[in-house]
């Protein structure tokens, strides 16, 4: 609401415009290099080579970049309407007869609403269905109805499901053909719209099931997944200016997890920090913790993740800052940990450490 000061004798100034929430919000930094709809274009490229590729959507083609495929391949696109159970069951049936479906909707609907169909119809028979979930974690300020903050926690328990959390446009472009080539069910945490492009500045190629060391560093190792790798890289640069040497291990495949790379990364006495765009429950942090404990290498790790609560609605940059996902927050958190002030009673009690 805009208000005007009518106090006599004073010049009227409009109040500063409030930052508002939006369903589709960008997490790209101002001026950052981006690529439009990388998923849709990658799927088109793949479809040229593989006639069995088909696309489905549940009334969200336009908002999951599937419209790019729909417009190029209208005879291979199937609109299922706003019915996610039907979407995933239908994708399973199409895979049964030899097609390779990509089924897109928002992550919340694919996971919370249609999980039984993903599990029983797709994963149990091990079908090559690729479920594409947009707005993963905190990538919309629309509120808990659309914030899939727990999708990894839900899906990690699904036997045989491959789960990919890409960092940027390049990751998505390379992951799409890899997911189609993988003979089994997959889930892609989709970044849609104008997607930042950062990994082409590193010697990096997406490889399903593999983590990649993007930077080496003596003091700290950031183990990150999804868009948080972008933030990890930014934080590492900022910390470098303060003479803190930070390594970044990007883990785009959440399942199966590259445990060897994680064990290696955590085998030194560096500070180990995990970063994920997901609740601290049941995602990367707990995967890394379990990996270390199962290998007898139990040690403290610092989880940067969303708190175990339903998040607020609002402007995305505000929310990323509030919940500890912004680069500023990461830098402060790492510094605090290095200076010995990071541990609090709350951490020991298992409270969400990013609060």
């Amino acid at each position: 609401m805009t208000t005007t000061d009518h106090t006599p004798g004073r010049t009227a100034h409009p109040a500063p415009r409030l930052k508002t929430s939006a369903m589709i919000a960008s997490f790209a930094d101002p001026g950052q290099k981006t690529t439009p709809a990388p998923f849709g274009h990658a799927l088109n490229l793949l479809a040229e080579e593989r006639p069995e590729i088909v696309g489905l959507s549940a009334d969200l083609a336009k908002y999951t970049d599937m419209h790019v495929f729909r417009d190029r391949n209208p005879d291979r696109f199937f609109q299922m309407g706003m019915s996610e159970q039907s979407l995933l069951g239908t994708a399973a049936g199409m895979a049964e007869v030899g097609l390779v479906p990509f089924a897109s909707t928002y992550s919340v609907f694919a996971t919370r609403r249609a999980y039984d169909f993903l599990c029983l119809d797709i994963a149990e028979p091990g079908l090559n269905v690729n479920v594409v979930g947009a707005l993963p974690g905190l990538t919309t300020g629309y509120g808990p109805s659309h914030q899939a903050t727990e999708d990894l926690a839900i899906l990690r328990g699904c036997p045989g499901l491959t789960i990919v959390d890409p960092c940027d446009a390049l990751d998505i472009e390379q992951a799409v053909p890899a997911l189609a080539a993988h003979d089994g069910p997959t889930y892609l945490r989709l970044l849609r719209g104008s997607v930042p492009r950062v990994l082409d500045e590193y010697d990096y190629t997406f490889e399903l099931g593999k983590a990649a060391e993007l930077r080496t560093g003596r003091d700290v190792v950031l183990i990150s997944t999804g868009l948080m790798t972008m933030r990890a890289l930014q934080a590492a640069e900022r910390l470098e200016a303060d003479h803190v040497d930070v390594a970044v291990l990007h883990v785009p495949t959440i399942k199966p997890l590259d445990t060897a790379a994680i064990l290696t990364a955590a085998s030194s006495d560096r500070l180990v920090v995990t970063l994920e765009n997901h609740t601290v429950i049941g995602g990367l942090a707990e995967s890394v913790a379990a990996t270390l404990a199962y290998a007898g290498q139990g040690r403290r790790i610092v989880p940067i993740a969303l708190p175990d609560e339903f998040l607020a609605a609002g402007a995305l940059p505000t929310l990323h800052d509030r919940y500890g996902l912004s680069t500023d927050s990461i830098v402060s958190r790492v510094k605090a940990e290095l200076h010995g002030s990071g541990r609090t009673a709350g951490d020991d009690a298992g409270d969400p450490p990013s609060l």
Partner: protein
């Protein structure tokens, strides 16, 4: 069974399609009736192995399965993954005992194997699993899935130019599941006339009569309102069933549903009179009587 479905519709329409083998209507009904009788016998046999099960439902749908497997479906018993096969998707996994009996009748699984029903390491688990049993197309157990997968199989077959048809047997209880109606909308929207849904209306669910659990009638009106070609028949009348399936096969432009009113335990009066009919426990001494009643019925 060497030559099933000789009276089934030809795989494609058009001038080059050979005519179906000449089989009289009486021959078809006779063959279906005999198959249904054997399916009931196999189901009773498996029920006796376990001492319990969804025997009432198996006896109730035996006529439907007989029409499907002995008259309508195009398949190769020894090659369950043949690409040209018509698909039969059982979404009601707890009716597995009936499907195994039908697959034994079809020759896809052996009669001997029925002895293993529900046992450790058997290929015939009590709820049907596609990965376990040849001829079982989808895993059931969680209701409301069958028609969604049917939609995808039918869309996929049409996309690939494969003229095979997709049958889905669902129960009236499955009409409670919203996903069934999502799929019903999708089949109609996409004009999937290669889909034939079969609803077994036995009017009984786990918690009691369907009318009391969640009213689904008028069933026929609902399907028609969703854009389906819908007919309703006595599901224990082979002649009526054959007519309904023929009509569905001839229908084009929209999916078809055959709503079948069946009686739980049909063919075995002892089991038809059970008060607790949804999941039936049968005492040891009753099995012989049940078999005798079934055999007596067949000679009447």
């Amino acid at each position: 069974m060497a030559a099933p479905n000789t009276a089934a519709p030809a795989p494609t329409t058009g001038p080059t399609t050979p005519e179906p083998l000449p089989t009289s209507a009486d021959d078809r009904i006779e063959r279906v009736t005999a198959a249904a009788q054997r399916i009931r016998g196999y189901a009773l046999h498996m029920g006796e192995v376990q001492g319990q099960g969804y025997i009432g439902q198996a006896l109730g749908v035996a006529d439907i399965l007989a029409v499907v497997y002995a008259d309508q479906l195009r398949y190769r018993p020894q090659d369950p993954h043949w690409e040209g096969r018509d698909r039969f998707l059982l979404s009601i996994g707890h009716y597995a005992i009936a499907l195994y009996a039908a697959l034994a009748e079809a020759g896809t699984i052996s009669l001997d194997e029925l002895d293993t029903y529900g046992s450790d390491d058997s290929r015939l688990p009590m709820s049907s699993m596609a990965s376990y049993t040849p001829g079982v197309e989808i895993s059931g157990g969680s209701l409301g899935h069958g028609l969604t997968v049917t939609t995808g199989v039918a869309l996929g077959l049409r996309h690939l130019g494969n003229p095979a048809r997709v049958f889905n047997l669902l129960s009236d209880g499955e009409l409670d599941e919203g996903s069934t109606w999502e799929a019903a909308l999708a089949c109609a929207h996409h004009g999937l006339d290669n889909v034939i849904a079969i609803v077994d209306v036995n009017a009984l669910q786990a918690d009691g009569p369907t009318a009391g659990v969640l009213r689904t009638e008028p069933v026929l009106d609902k399907w028609r309102a969703f854009g389906w070609h819908a007919v309703r028949v006595d599901g224990n009348d082979p002649s009526a069933l054959v007519g309904a399936f023929d009509e569905a096969a001839a229908h084009t432009g929209s999916p078809s549903v055959i709503v079948c009113d069946t009686r739980i335990g049909f063919g075995v009066p002892l089991l038809m009179e059970r008060e607790k009919a949804h999941f039936m426990r049968v005492e040891e001494h009753e099995w012989k009587l049940a078999r005798t009643q079934l055999e007596e019925g067949s000679t009447r």
